[in-house]
Each structure stands twice: as C-alpha cells, then as structure tokens.
Point group: C2
Chain length 633, copies 2
Amino acid sequence: MRTYSSVPFSDVRITGPFWTERLDTVLTRTIPSQLRRLEEHDIRGSIKLPKPVPPPTIPIERNNFTVQIFWDSDIGKWIEAAAYALSHRRDTVIEAEVEAIIDDLAAAQAPDGYLNCWYLEREPENRWTNTRDNHELYCAGHLLEGAVAYYQATGKDRLLNILERYVDHIADVFGTRPGQKRGYPGHPEIELALMRAFHATGKQKYLDLASYFVDERGNTDGVEHFYTAEAKARGADPAHYWAGTYEYCQAHLPVREQTKVVGHAVRAMYLYAAMADLAAEQGDAALKAACEALWADVTERRMYVTGGFGPSASNEGFTKDYDLPNDTAYAETCASCAMIFWAARMLNLDLEGEYADILETALYNNTLAGLSQDGEFYFYDNKLESDGSHYRWPWHRCPCCTMNVSRLVASVAGYFYGLADSEIAVHLYGGAETELPVAGGKVVLRETSNYPWDGKIRIELVPEGTGEFTLSLRVPAWCEDASAKLNGAELPIKTERGYLKIRRAWHKGDIVELDLPMVPERLYAHPDVRHDFGRVALRRGPLVYCVEQVDNDMPVNRLRLPPDADLSARVDRDLLRGTVVIEASARVTLGDDWGKALYAPRRAREKDTVLAAVPYYLWCNRGQSAMQLWLRE
Amino acid sequence: MRTYSSVPFSDVRITGPFWTERLDTVLTRTIPSQLRRLEEHDIRGSIKLPKPVPPPTIPIERNNFTVQIFWDSDIGKWIEAAAYALSHRRDTVIEAEVEAIIDDLAAAQAPDGYLNCWYLEREPENRWTNTRDNHELYCAGHLLEGAVAYYQATGKDRLLNILERYVDHIADVFGTRPGQKRGYPGHPEIELALMRAFHATGKQKYLDLASYFVDERGNTDGVEHFYTAEAKARGADPAHYWAGTYEYCQAHLPVREQTKVVGHAVRAMYLYAAMADLAAEQGDAALKAACEALWADVTERRMYVTGGFGPSASNEGFTKDYDLPNDTAYAETCASCAMIFWAARMLNLDLEGEYADILETALYNNTLAGLSQDGEFYFYDNKLESDGSHYRWPWHRCPCCTMNVSRLVASVAGYFYGLADSEIAVHLYGGAETELPVAGGKVVLRETSNYPWDGKIRIELVPEGTGEFTLSLRVPAWCEDASAKLNGAELPIKTERGYLKIRRAWHKGDIVELDLPMVPERLYAHPDVRHDFGRVALRRGPLVYCVEQVDNDMPVNRLRLPPDADLSARVDRDLLRGTVVIEASARVTLGDDWGKALYAPRRAREKDTVLAAVPYYLWCNRGQSAMQLWLRE
C-alpha cells in the first residue's frame, strides 16, 4: 500500500531565502538558548541525578517551576532539534553538548535497559504502574526520535544503541505474551518514533512494537480495558480518572473503530501519524480507512483557518464540531506540528493535494507563529484574536512546544519531497536541492523560488541515466490560475488530486517553471462556525493574514472590511525583515459621537479607513499588540 | 445626607400578575425544594452536628459534594428567603422548619456567642485565623440577614437575639482597641447585614461595627496589611495567596481610594452596597464619592446588557474594561442580585433614575434568568450565547446563587418605593399596594399595571390628612414617549434625573396614569466591546430579548438582523405561560451551497426568514436549546 516515501531531511538541502533565515535563526539562536533554558530550569540536570537517592536531590519547586515527570521528552526533543540543525550546519559546541547528554543518559540507564530519569530517581518501585498518565512511554519515544535524528544527521549511533536497549526492555515488558503487560502509552508518541527507528535501521522489532501498541490501544475484546485494570492494580479507583474519559487519550475504542477526532489534540495526532505510517508499511486497509475518516473529521469540522487544532485549554484538545472560538483558542503549537507529522505520512499513502495543502497551512501559520522572529520566544497557545495581553514567552512550565517548533523548523527539508519508484512528488516550495534515486537512476533536482512571498517557481533537473519518470508538482488549492512551462513551452494545467504530473524521459538541464499567482483573497468559514459568522479572513498564497494594532491607527477591534473593499498586496522590505503587507479599504467605527453609555439604541458613526494586515505567523514580534484575524464584513 | 429610605418588603403588598406569579412559585416550589436540597446535601445537617467531635461526623465527600466552609451562609439565606415568603403568605410548615433550624443554631452557639458550624465542628482552635479566605464573617452576615428578615416578617426575635450575641462576640474580637484583631471579611457581606440590623433595631452597635469593617478595609496606614499579617501569624506565606492580589477581595486599597471595580464581582458589590448605606447614614461625602466613581466604572465599562457582572469564571469577577464575552460570560446570578442591593442603596443617596434603571435591568434579565419558570432549577452563570450545552441545574456544589435569587424574588416588594419626609418615589412598577407615612400623615398607594408586559400604569392615592407631598414617578431611560395624566388631565412630562415629580396636596381617589409605551428596539454596545461589535440586541421595555433555537427553524447562530429589518411585538398567551414575542424579518445563511470545506473563498448563500425572540430571562425553560442574544446585523 505504501506508494511514496518521504525524502528525509538529511537528503535535502534548503537553499531558498525564507527557510534559510528560519534555519539559521534556529541553529544560532533557538537551539543554544533552549539549552540554556533547560539548564536554568534543571531539565538538563534531571538526567544526571545520582540515583537511586531518596529524597529527591532536586526540590519539587525551584525557579517557580515544578520538576516534571515528562522532562526526558524535552531532552529528547532538544537532541532531535540539534541533530537537524547539525545536519544543516555542523557546530562543534552543540555537538559536544549532545555528546555530554548522551554520557549522562548512558550512565543513567539501568542494567535492564530501563531509562526514565524521573522513575529511576524518585520512585523506582513504581515503574510501568501508570502508563495512562505518567509519560514513561512518551519520554522513551522522544528520546528514540532524538537518537534516530542524531544518527541520521551525524552517523553516530551511541544514543541509538542506548535507546535500542531501552526499546528491547519495553518490548519485554509490554505485549500479549503471558506475563507481559497489555499496556500502551497514555500519550502516544513512541509509536511514530518506533516507525522512524524502523525506517532508519530496517529492524523489524521496531515495527513490531509500534504495531503492537497501535493494535492493542482501546482493546476490550475479552480483556478489561488496560487503564482500568492498571488503575486497580496500583490501588486507584478507575472511576476517578481525572480526565473523565479515555477519549482524552484516544483509548476509548480500538483505533480502527475511531472516526471522530477527540480528546487531547497532540496525543490524537501523534497517534494518527503512527497509524498512517503503519497502514502504509503493512498495507492495512482498515487502518488507512480510519486515518481517512479521522482526517475528514478534523479538517472539515475541527480545524482553525491557521492550521491550529484543539480549541480548548481544559483538555488541551478537541470539543465539538465547528467549535472554534478565536480569542480563547488553544491551538497548541505542538498540535499543528503533530498535524504536519500526520499529513506527511498521509502523503505516503496517497498523493492527495489536500494532505499537502493542510500540511502547508499548519506549517506557515499556526506552527511558525509558535516561534518569534528572533528565535527565542514561544507561543504555546495560538489565539486568533487578542486584546494585546497574549504574547510569546521565553519558556514554559511545560516546554513541549518550544522544542517541537525548533525541531520542526530544523527538519523542514524532510517535508519537501516524496518519492516512488518512478515518480518524484514536490510537496513544498521555497528553494531546495536534492539528489534522488528514481527509475533506476539518479536525478538532481534544484528548485528555486521566493516562496511563500512569490509563487514563481523554477525547477532544474539533472538526471543521470535515461529512465522515464514522473515529476509531480503540487498545485495548491489556494491557487486558481496556475500555469507551467517545460523548457519554455506552455504546459496544460491538468492536475490529478492536486498535483501536476509531468511524465517523460528527462534530460540534463530540463527546466520546469510553475507560476502560482498569489493574490490577496477573502476567506469565509463554514456557516456553522458561529465564532466566524459574518466575518472574513485574508489569505495570500499559503499565508493567512491578521490585522495587528501596531500597523493600524484605529483600534483593530473596530475595523470592518466591507464586502466590496479592494485588497492589494505590497512588499515591504523594511517591515519584519521583509514581508508582504495586505492593504484594504475598510470602515472603522468611531467612538466620538457615542458618549459614555455602554449600551444605546443607536449605532456609532463609521468612517472610511485603510487597514494593513501582516502574515499571522509574524504577529507579536514588535511588542504586545492587539490582533484580529477574522474581521467583521 | 440620607434623603430617602427604602420602604421595606414587609410594608408593601404585591398585587400585579407578574410578581404574584413569581412569588407564588418561590413560596410553593422554590423554598420547599431548596430545603429538600439542603437536607440531601447535608447542608441542613451541618448546623446540628454534635460538637466538638473530631473526626468530623460528616464525611468530606458525600453525594459528590464537598462539605463547604460557607454552608452556614446557605442556611442564613434560606431562612431569609423563607421569611420574605412568609411575609407574603404564612405557611406553618415552612415556619416550623425555620424554628427547628433556630433550635439547632441556639444549641450550636458557643458560650462566648461564637457561631460558625464549620469551625465549631472541625477546627475550633482555628477560629478567626483566616478571615481572608474562610468566610466566617460572611457566614455571620448571612445568618444576621436571615435573622433580621425573619424578625421583620414574623416579629419573632429569637434568631435575632442569637445573632446579636454573635455580633457582640465579633465586636469584641475585631476592632482597633488593644488586643483586638484589625481584621475584616475577605468576602464582604456582614457589613450590609449589620446595616440592615441597625435599620431594623436602631442599635448603634451594628452601625459601629459595619463602619469599622468598611473603614479598616485595605488599611496600610501605619500597619501591615491585615491579610499579610494574618497569613504570617498562622504560618502561611502571604506571597502564596492563591488569588494573587488583594484586588480579588477589594482589600487592595482603603475603600475611599477605590475607583476601579475589580476582583470577585459578588464581594465587590456587597461591599459597595454597605458603603452606600453607610455613606447615607453617616453623611460621609468621601464614601459617597467612592460609590459614585465605582458605579460609573462598572456601569459604563463592565456590565452586560442583561445587568450581569463579572465576565470571568477564573476569579468569578471582573477583568478589563469592555471585556464582555458572550459565550463564556460568567455573570453570576449572585452578582446581579448584589447589584440590586447596591443600586437600591444608591437610590437612598440620590433619587437618580440611572440607579433604578440598572436595578431594573439587573432584576428583569440576569437575575430572573437565574431561576427556572417552575422554580426549581438555577443558572449560576448567565451566558449571553449558548450552543445548547448550557442549562439550569437543580443545585450547585456552591449553592449561593440558588438562595440569592429566591430571597431576591421573595423580597422584590422592598425595591418598589423610596420615602422621604414629603416625597414618595416609585422606582418599580408591576402592581403593588402600600401605606406610607408622608408629610405628617399617611397615604395609601395602589399601583396597578401589567408591567413589564405593558407600560400603562395607574396609581390611586388615598391620603389621610391634607399634607402636600411629591409623588415622584420613575420614567425609565428606555422609554422615549412617556405621557402622564392626573385625574384624566394631561401632565407635562418634564423629568428631574429620570423622575416625573408631581407635588400637590393630594386627595382621596386621585388617579395618576403613566403611559410608558413599550416598543421593540435595537440596542448597540459601545464600540470598544469587541464581542458585540457589528451586532445588535433587542429590547422591549425593561426586558432584553434573545433568540432561542426552540422558536426558530433555522440555526440561531446563522441568523442576521439587517439594519432595516422591521421589528414587531405580539402577545402569545400560550407561550411560556404568556409572554410578548418580538418578531423580525431577518436573513439566514444557508449551508446548502457550501459543501464540506471548513474554509472557502466565497460566502454561503443567504435567504429571507423571520426570527422570533423571547425575553432573555425566560430562555431555557423548554429543554436545552441554542441561544443568541447579540445578533449579527
């Protein structure tokens, strides 16, 4: 069933200006500052504790932060982000830091392979007693992802070997054989990590364990639900589950029976990513069908226009269909990262433009917003409207998002291309170079563009050998007037499921030009999204725009964009290190004739004005400022 | 400085249909069912515990409710509500229940007069160690209010005597003399209760203690802030105050320096009510000025159109100017009750129509919504928009609102009239009869009307004696075309601060007719209320309307009321036991041409429709239903 494989980050070199800038920032600012923050908050130290030493050597409260049971995951994610960055540009200081952490992890690992620093230090007797809540498997997954990335980036396998021992231990503890626990992670993550380890090493045991965790999830066929049995075993009342329902962790049903996207958004989409990967790997039609049903559910009813997911802070997740409040949006940065992981794996099942469209939306909007332009401040939740009180933080009590956005940006090259036997699919644009094995030969592909600011894309192919293959170029759904040329000659634009497919015997120096005109346009929400009813959003290319107070004289919450207002785009090289601004004739409600009354039986006066909108992902880089994405029409 | 006195509930008889129905419901349904609920949840039992008996005889968790430190207050409020109802119609069963509770309270009272059942039972050694958080003074206040009301309604003073002993004890503990605690309640309430006791008994000690609590509040002049000192004294770190700031309980500044309405909404407005009462009683210009500043702040920037207060659940209170979200509105029922208490006291400082207008708005909208039509279900929070998931509960873990709305409704007669030496002010209409001492004589006043459904009001005066006095009739701000007649002859409508003042020597049988035409009209919010921007509300007379799904075929969140749409009102005697419905030509957005996309660069189709709106206070009496108050225009 697997038709395509992702081309890994390590095989693609970013050359375009947009991502080069983000990668440089992440390498030079974000990753070093994250290490400092990990140290300041004792997260770095949490993996080199003397052990076992009760009472804990780190006080529970320090620097106003609480020692967290999931901190190994943050170390794993930092290693992963650092690995991607090292692949982009070697850095001896960062590499030495990673090695020092690996030293500590090696020293911390128990003789049986177990490696969770919270439990080793604090409650070794309670290992594997609460997989529902306590993140042991989640932490193992993130360490494994870090190990795989570091191996792929540097060829060094010491950490991967440590994790392989840990995975062997986990595979002893969990499974369906007598004496094994029939458990699975309350926070899915290790499943997709195991699949990455399988792809990187080819070792069947990783695939088998991933498959077990996915298949066992929510199983009540002849057995008691594992979390119920596990709670009883540790003397807890399963009815007192703090989250109330196993929907919270997507363990309410076997995964193949799940059709509604529910619960904690990051858990959900990490799980679906693994499901899609497994479906492709194992040719599992039922698993694929579940992924497709879940995809339709979330993208048709539970997604912000920015590619954000999970409106509610209380469960960090999903609520109801079309429930998408703007000023209280949670839309966690991690959740849009998770969607990108999932969408990339759906693209390996089917070359369906919608998967790439939503990957792109999540990437350029909700996800990129998670990191400040200077690379050192973060949004955990990504609101679509603010009175000015919402701003990026230098760190979080739960710093999951900080290293999710850095690892995503640092690995963006891994999302550009898909590969089949005789087909290269180009999912993203923005300037990237790669050499790919295709149709029995090799081809160098050089894509150059100023995407996402401009839709003019040029691809040069340098094949080695003469095999015929298909070059499939994504034509985004946002683009209505795409055109293309092959060596200067117009090509008919006939797309298959969102891709323009050019099949031929390619020659050295063949040039494909794709023009995706970017015009500012209005977007409307489904009429059941009551929060956006009567409102309009602005989009240009893959970027959703917002109106930020700092660019506008009049209060942004008093602006209205009439249905017939002109929209125009202009490049501003000085603003926000260079961006495209959308301007529109608009109306603003004045307060000058209103008086002091809070309510009155008359409208306030309006007058003409001009509004300026900037890309949503760039908001809040010039101090705190009110912001509005959905404008009254 | 006191110009007017409220005419107490016990001197006014409700005769009109609207309030007669509500009073009957409260007497026959609400008060008996509340007693059952108090028993089911052990609240009734919490005051007859054997004591001191550690461990507690009531388990902390029972019926899924936690024994609450503030339960004495609920008993006090129930007695108060029952007393008002008894004044309306004697009921031997209810009276016997009150007497039984008084027996228990008498038995529970400590020899020194102390009377808090939580502390007596559970932690007698900790009395008065945490006035900031632990509601001892708040509970005392509610018991005292109950005692005063029961005394006024029945003439029985046994409970009042018990409370007098308790107040004497409190006056020993708190004050500025050496050895006394310079404390004051974290939850204001006792201050207004003490003022009520003073008005009912004339005993100066009640006034003095109220005055002390108000004056000492927030004092840091030469002393450490009391809550800081108190926290240290009990070994707690004052920096770890869970609410973060003394603004939460309005103890951040001395009250005369407070100009911004902040913190917990009920605490705030209970305090302001006492401040207004004290200002009137003591001729305290600085206190009056503070009340006026706070009044302007809350009514001009922090009030829902329904007379709801405090948008935020997290502090049960105020946030920022113009921050009035609809679907997450907290707008606690208790807070609008508290506003009514405050407004009534402001009316005794100055006969200012605005005070009565807002009292009326809070009464007929946010407050009445708190109680179901059948009298047994309650809103704690009063949202202005719902997807259908918000509904009235039979009880609450913290049942403060349930008995606030019942005592308010049962005492509504006490808000109709104000009295000065030679002036009677009529604040509310709806059918009420009273006999008042004025200008050295007495006058019987009989007001008849079908208010709030109809604005035609008839007042018959039967004076005894010949003194000249002024009859001041409120002309609500919502009414633009009021007219009036005296014995059939047209009177010029010239109002002074919202009141039409008729001064003359009155004769038996004089008839004043006041016509306040009620037309459905549009209301708009101040342009800085971003949640209501581009939206319109409907009002007729004092009632704010909403669109409830059960009355409308099309989804209420897809309705739009164009600026030029006709509005009409019609009586529907069968709907909701008889009400006035507003109908309007409107537009509805269809989904039929939209497809599955969540976002698209085109509008969905609209078509004409007719919407039906019902009074907001009546919503959710026909099962769960989506509701929208502010409509797109």
